[in-house]
Symmetry: C2
Subunit: 432 residues, 2 copies
């Protein structure tokens, strides 16, 4: 039924602008019903989606195979093909994540603060859904299910714009999401897509201020910057991480080796992996750290003072300014020697994207100075940068990692997909 | 529109762009020192500003007189001249407000949440200053001192862009603000202005993403919409209030009269004043309410069902759609009769700016439905809409009233001029 409606609109002789406006209007209406749904009802929807994903696994994988085949034909890189590909295991992962989401508390209705004012007015500020959330992302079909689940759990309607290269997969997933909502009596229009309007659909979504309450871009630097620059809708900027670790003179060797290996090699393609290592000139651990990293297959991009400490046979290159600026997201690491903590702070201020920075030290004063002066979403002392993660920090689920300062900074949980409403109740009070 | 602005900037003499970049760079450096200043130090600065304002009152009033004279010559409206004018009493008011600010708790350093994670990591999320706050406002010189005080108290640097019509006054105030900061050992560059670059300066400020952390426009609808539409820097939209009161069938007469009089006539020029009254067809109080309003000098813009209830001799006009859309900010009120609560909700959804809506009722179910379904920053039951105010709701000081959903919604206090930082401390933990 709902599919037929979408078809009908697409074939109507109206412009993309009108169609997208109709989508945002339907999203607004659906958002009102979602806002009124209690936790049990929303959780039923999430479990229904999980069940339908598993029941329709063959169909999903068949549609995904079409996208992957087309991608391969067009010479898409192996890394991008991997992100595009769904497997039985990955579908199970999506279903499991939805079950986990259903087990989490509902952020809606939480009282942020409340009091009875001197004049007897009862005031409370309560978390309520944002309303309509827009998501613009690349050809990673898992994001379709992931962001829809997060938006629904927090009582929102969502409008999706996935990468064209995943069009068949996303269409199949969208139908499943909508049918599952419908099956529990929630509005199918709480999940819609502007994919059929291509790039124009994305642009219209970015301009729909008043219709869309917040826009979340997920993907690489270019995608995020394009959204940030062009959107009139408020955007939450996520994910870019040029992450630094500073090894202070007093840092312990075993700790440094373990943390650098973890921060660089555990999952190099994610945003909380370390990209530049700064070493104090008096640190005694540098040689051991570089050896361990090199043994683990890390390519080292080093300045002239670090070069003599690189073990023989290591893959090593002279570092340029480009290295300090680069988020490699691969087994590469820039390494620079500094004379002091202030020099390290200065380097980080110049090159950081404000995601995560860590200091490894046994000097309390230096730890405090680093915490106070680093202006990043997460500041870590003596632990791996990989901990900047909603799951690790106890948020239950992660919408993304915000690198901006407004609304959400660092790992975003379900609460960050809500806003607040002030509720004031009296018995006739007027202002004096 | 935004493309025109981009072009405009591209063709601008490079000096304005370079100068504004130098201003934002100095603001960033100053913001670091402000972030490191404790509450006692910041409060000393606020008190020094208050003292210098009073000591330099004659100079301020003389400079202000030049602006007022120029405004009068150019035929500026009486209302705008009033907003532009400073008096000894108003300067005293600014000094008092700074003293009040100094007496408020510091939002910086407040721990939003914290816990020890299963792996022993200590995590806390702490309020820290935004960094660099931009303010774009009209020719109201009191805003210069007001917004600077709020920004400084919350540990930020601020860059001001006031209306050209207040240029002499703002220049005098800026010098006082900077001297006072310097006198207590805080950086003068924590308060700067781009006023000398005129419209160019405002445009450059709006595009300075990464240099300016948040932009707060204060003023009329046109100014705010221009900033919202053109800024690449995150904006907090404030102040537009097309505020509704719905009188339900069961509302008590005395309460309705008192609240409507207060909400419409106490201070008609502010954003929390009521602009449209919706009356249930079965409400028995409508005639009395209209009489009281009319006696108080309110001009009534009524639909055809309300017209017969308007007292003889009242200033009354037939309402059109334009009336439902208008934020009069004057002694005017649109009045419409509805058949039901759902019809009232529908009207509000169509015309509200999402600031404040109130219901006057004795029906619990209707009160609950109104609270749940109205999607505005503040929802009020049986009290005046004038309570949507930071001071009234216990925030101590008010930055503005946000009508957007991101970051801040409704009255914004000092905390809304901060962001958060996640601080994670361990002893060598790595991610499993």
């Amino acid at each position: 039924m709902s599919e037929q409606i979408v078809e009908h609109i697409a074939s109507a002789p109206s412009s993309a602008a009108e169609n997208v406006r109709s989508i945002t209007d339907r999203a607004r209406r659906a958002s009102r019903r979602m806002a009124g749904a209690n936790r049990a009802w929303k959780d039923r929807a999430l479990r229904a989606i999980a069940k339908e994903l598993l029941a329709n696994e063959h169909h999903i994988l068949a549609e995904n195979a079409r996208d992957v085949a087309a991608g391969r034909e067009q010479g898409t890189s192996a890394a991008m093909l991997d992100r595009l590909t769904l497997t039985a295991q990955r579908v199970q992962g999506l279903a499991d994540a939805l079950e986990n989401l259903a087990s989490l508390p509902d952020p809606v209705g939480n009282v942020v603060r409340g009091q009875t004012l001197p004049n007897g007015l009862r005031m409370r500020q309560v978390n309520v859904p944002m309303g309509v959330v827009g998501a613009i992302y690349e050809a990673r079909p898992n994001v379709t299910v992931d962001i829809a689940g997060l938006a629904l759990k927090s009582g929102n309607a969502v409008i999706l714009r996935g990468g064209t290269a995943a069009a068949h997969t996303n269409e199949a997933l969208l139908a499943i999401l909508r049918d599952a909502l419908d099956s529990v009596g929630l509005p199918a229009d709480a999940v819609q897509s502007v994919d059929k309007y291509g790039r124009e659909g994305a642009n219209l979504l970015m301009k729909a201020r008043g219709q869309v309450d917040v826009l979340i871009p997920r993907g690489g630097r270019e995608l995020i910057q394009a959204v940030v620059t062009n959107a009139a809708v408020p955007v939450i900027e996520t994910g870019e991480g040029n992450v630094h670790i500073f090894i202070d003179a007093s840092a312990r060797e075993d700790m440094c080796v373990d943390i650098l290996l973890n921060a660089k090699t555990q999952r190099p393609s994610v945003c909380n992996t370390v990209e530049t290592l700064l070493v104090h000139k008096d640190a005694t651990v540098t040689r051991a750290v570089l050896k361990a990293l090199s043994d683990a297959g890390v390519r080292l991009h080093v300045d002239s003072r670090v070069a003599p400490l690189v073990p023989a046979g290591a893959a090593s290159f002279p570092a340029t300014d480009e290295d300090w600026a680069t988020e490699y997201m691969d087994l590469d690491l820039a390494v620079k020697m500094v004379d002091s903590l202030p020099e390290a702070l200065e380097h980080i201020r110049k090159w950081s994207t404000g995601h995560t920075e860590a200091i490894l030290t046994n000097d309390l004063g230096n730890a405090e100075k680093f915490i106070a002066e680093i202006d990043s979403a997460a500041v870590i002392v003596n632990a791996s940068t990989r901990f900047t993660d909603g799951g690790e920090l106890g948020l239950g689920a992660e919408v993304g990692i915000s690198t901006q300062k407004l609304h959400a900074r660092g790992p975003m949980g379900l609460t960050e997909l809500t806003t607040t409403k002030w509720i004031v109740q009296g018995e006739g009070q007027v202002r004096a």
